[in-house]
Symmetry: C2
Subunit: 197 residues, 2 copies
């Protein structure tokens, strides 16, 4: 019943992976500690040897989920121009909609995070700030301040579009809002100056 120190560390990682996935799929209140442990292939009793509380798990699991944003947007942040369209294309896609457990933590859990305490909210503040940094690098524009505003607004558009599209029963309306968001996020940036609108 006891495993090696390394295996125990791997198990802890597995719990975090399971939590990061399940929370995004069902929300913080929709997933119990038992479900997370079961997803990780463990029994629920051992949970509190690794984590102080469910709240601590929430914070760590979100930190982990934000790392996927780093990987994705950070990966595009080096390249200019075409990178933005490709990244936005995936973000505002049906594929992203249909895989919340592996998708953007903000689109899946921003409202849930708003109902939690300072610990989880701090993770979201730091994570958002990093995403803004990557996006600022992808957006051409005059001043740094303007690019920062543009990045913040575009993140809001993308996150809102995915969250809303998931809430809809009407698939064609969901596709419409994704398409409309794509146009708004790429307009004035991917398209040469003065060509759009």
């Amino acid at each position: 019943m006891r495993v090696s120190k390394q295996q125990a560390a791997e198990n802890r990682e597995g719990v975090l992976d399971a939590a990061a996935k399940l929370f995004r799929e069902r929300g913080f209140d929709g997933v119990g500690v038992d479900a997370v442990m079961a997803e990780a292939g463990l029994t629920h009793g051992g949970f509190y040897k690794s984590f102080a509380s469910k709240d601590a798990l929430v914070a760590e699991a979100c930190t982990r989920a934000f790392r996927q944003i780093d990987d994705f947007w950070g990966g595009y942040a080096g390249r200019p121009g075409k990178g933005l369209a490709a990244a936005v294309g995936w973000y505002l896609s049906r594929r992203h909609l249909d895989s919340p457990g592996d998708g953007c933590v903000l689109a899946a859990l921003a409202a849930d995070a708003g109902r939690r305490g300072p610990t989880a909210r701090a993770v979201f503040s730091v994570g958002l700030e990093r995403w803004v940094g990557y996006l600022v690098r992808l957006l051409p524009g005059a001043s740094e301040a303007r690019r920062r505003d543009a990045a913040l607004a575009r993140i809001a558009t993308m996150v809102g579009a995915v969250a809303i599209a998931r809430a809809l029963d009407d698939q064609s309306l969901a596709d419409e809002i994704l398409a409309a968001a794509r146009i708004a996020v790429l307009a004035d940036y991917a398209v040469p100056e003065g060509q759009s609108r």
Copy 2:
């Protein structure tokens, strides 16, 4: 212990008001039937005389919450030009952030709705479509199709900005994303042609 037919109808309305408020504040999974009934000043046992299930309550409470969107945006939809800035000004305000129980149902519950069944999601589809209708009337623009795209994207921006801002621990970052969304939502529309960007 029994009340008049009229009083019973009023009690049912009170339960829906309580649910519409509490769900937006704590999420569907964060509020039990008992809490809703207590908020309405009733005991939980009587709940199932009025509603078939919690799911039925969720759907009806969201329908009620969407009616507030009708009142607010529908009220502005008649007037052109200046109405948009005023409506957006409230929507993207600290006051709205701080009163989720009386605020936009999409900003508070879109992600939650995405985890529910077709009944609740149908309410969101119909409610969103109505909001789009009001906003299309507020947005000048060339073709109907372009105005519809603009309305959808701007709804996504507003909903995303409020949901994200609520998730943040950092108040100044929250204010920043609200301000950035304000600029993005009003640009090219409230500002005379060619003057912005």
